[in-house]
Symmetry: C2
Subunit: 214 residues, 2 copies
């Protein structure tokens, strides 16, 4: 870290972030198709040719929004789930960061995430983000297992991580649709669902047909 | 059930199903945008004007495909999870039916489901299907809880059902992308993940910060 800010370079970076902020707001308000570059330029207080010059077409701008929001979210989750904590604390902090992020960006989640899910090229970008998240979760599980002297196949880890990420995404959708719901409480619910099972999985338990504890 | 088939009406119903079969095949092969009504008519062995007359535009045809596949899947799951079985058996049979369905229709799942997820009006249709599935799962959980003399709020049931459906959808995506993966084994993995936790939730357990069994 230098004590002297790079005055010559800063304005461009700041301006780009302002444009992305404006773009996220407008996409959230209008949806991708109805959003216009005029409104985004207006909202950012920058001329439309400047927006095009900095960030490209509306599609490229949307991908840049997805990318920045995704990176922020992944960083929030990975940062919260510090590796030196017990597995359940890491999961809890990760979930709290995730639902806190979605709860703080309900509109953005609904538009950016749901729109991106089904249409190319956004779906590819989103799949890459999900894969990074699956890797983070699989890494956490692997770490917790090794701490207990256990090891499972990469496929088993991947499958459990997919299920946890899928369950969390589904609850994030639920949270985005329920403005009255509390993000922290939703994280707690997901924690209960995930941990009670994960804890037994980590101990090597499994369900067997006709032998369920009831 | 009458012993005499309704000859006058049967041909139209049969023909519609043939067109839907052809449409599912072509949409699966080409994707929604690249699929042409010519190819669908060809595949069904029916003239193109007839396809339009019976099932409407390409969009309407895609919705009809979604609707039929969704109804088949929901019926397979609900039929497998008979109410007089113990909760874990019902969940297991439901999951086996779900992953069996996806495993038997990998291409269809990938195209119909993934395309429908992000674009209107398909996303609305899909959300309605998911809500029906969430209701089925919440009903199963409620039934299992009442059998144990317990009751939880409708919101708690809904949240757990959302998480289970989301986790299963995520694993179904994984299954669709892994042609070598066995549907039954995938259902078993999901059962382990879901049941080990659900069983403890059904008994009233919950995770508490700093008090995790390790």
């Amino acid at each position: 870290m230098s004590g002297t800010p790079a005055f010559k370079r800063l304005p461009r970076a700041v301006r780009e972030q302002q444009m992305l902020d404006a773009a996220v707001r407008v996409f959230s308000r209008r949806g991708f198709h109805a959003a216009s570059m005029d409104e985004i330029a207006d909202d950012a207080g920058i001329s439309k040719p400047m927006v095009y010059a900095y960030l490209g077409t509306k599609e490229e701008l949307f991908i840049a929004c997805l990318h920045r929001e995704g990176a922020r979210m992944t960083a929030a989750i990975a940062g919260a789930a510090a590796p030196d904590l017990p597995a359940d604390e890491r999961l809890w902090r990760g979930l709290r960061a995730f639902f806190g992020f979605v709860g703080g960006h309900r509109d953005g989640w609904a538009v950016l995430y749901r729109q991106a899910r089904g249409s190319q090229p956004f779906a590819t970008e989103l799949a890459a983000m999900r894969n990074r998240l699956v890797e983070v979760v699989a890494g956490m599980l692997d770490h917790a297992l090794r701490a207990r002297g256990r090891e499972v196949s990469a496929t088993d880890l991947e499958v459990v991580a997919y299920a946890l990420v899928g369950a969390s995404e589904s609850l994030a959708d639920w949270l985005a649709d329920h403005p009255e719901a509390d993000p922290e409480r939703t994280a707690g619910r997901m924690m209960n669902i995930a941990w009670l099972g994960a804890d037994r999985l980590l101990h090597g338990a499994s369900w067997e047909e006709g032998r369920a504890p009831s």
